[in-house]
């Protein structure tokens, strides 16, 4: 499975990561999924409801997720995953990520260290663990 993230959308995610640093940022990936590929066509920045622990936790506003789904539906697309940042932490899913992950969605993690954005990585829950998928532009 390949995950395609166009360069312009990656740039948008990088901007949101920097704007929110050192707090976590999160949002929704909109696109189209086939048997071999997830093509991301739009990204949405949503509110992090976990204000008290925003440096290392996120809780996506369900109303924002609903609206992102409606936006996707209107475009003939779908919510294909979730993105979030890992400030000063690698782009690998944590146990917290795993415990709250949903199958079928792509989880895109954008690392940012001392304000500098690193290489995002794409994961998907498969059974009890995450499997990484190739990320291409």
């Amino acid at each position: 499975m390949t995950v395609r993230l166009p360069r312009d959308l990656r740039h948008v995610l990088e901007c949101w990561a920097r704007e929110n640093y050192p707090q976590e940022a999160c949002g929704v990936l909109i696109g189209r999924q086939t048997d071999s590929e997830v093509a991301i066509a739009d990204v949405v920045h949503t509110r992090n409801l976990n204000i008290e622990r925003a440096r290392d936790r996120f809780e996506l506003d369900p109303g924002d997720l609903l609206r992102a789904g409606e936006r996707a539906f209107g475009l003939g697309l779908d919510v294909v995953g979730i993105w979030h940042t890992h400030p000063d932490h690698p782009a690998r899913p944590s146990e917290t990520d795993r415990a709250r992950a949903w199958e079928a969605w792509i989880y895109l993690i954008v690392p940012i260290r001392k304000g500098a954005v690193g290489e995002p990585r794409a994961w998907r829950l498969n059974g009890s663990g995450f499997v990484e998928h190739v990320l291409k532009s």
Binding site: R57, E59, G63, E95, D97
Partner: protein, 102 residues
């Protein structure tokens, strides 16, 4: 009974054969979910817990409103209503344990 539409998020479509929308006849949100569960085995357990309440990590909306601010599962439905099952999404890098990727 009114005909309403239940929108299924991608993580639960393995229960609906890939369908993203299911039309059901129901008078309340609970009825709509139960009809959905009767047609698609397994999905009801992902939405409602054994005590009959909404699971902690699932939200249900009627139109733009979360049923939590309406009458919960007893929320009445009108013809044409759209019910959306919205997974509760959370995470974060804080981790006392090692990362769980493989």
């Amino acid at each position: 009974m009114n005909t309403v539409t239940v929108r299924i998020p991608m993580p639960l479509r393995s229960y609906t054969g890939g369908a993203d929308e299911i039309a059901v006849e129901a008078a309340t949100v609970r009825q709509a979910l139960e009809v959905l569960g009767a047609r698609h085995e397994g999905i009801l357990n992902r939405v409602i817990d054994p005590s009959g309440e909404l699971r902690q990590f699932v939200n249900v909306f009627v139109g733009a409103r979360n049923v939590q601010v309406l009458d919960g599962l007893a929320t009445p439905l009108a013809k044409g209503d759209v019910i959306s099952i919205i997974p509760a999404v959370a995470g974060g890098h804080h981790d006392r344990l090692r990362p769980m990727a493989r």
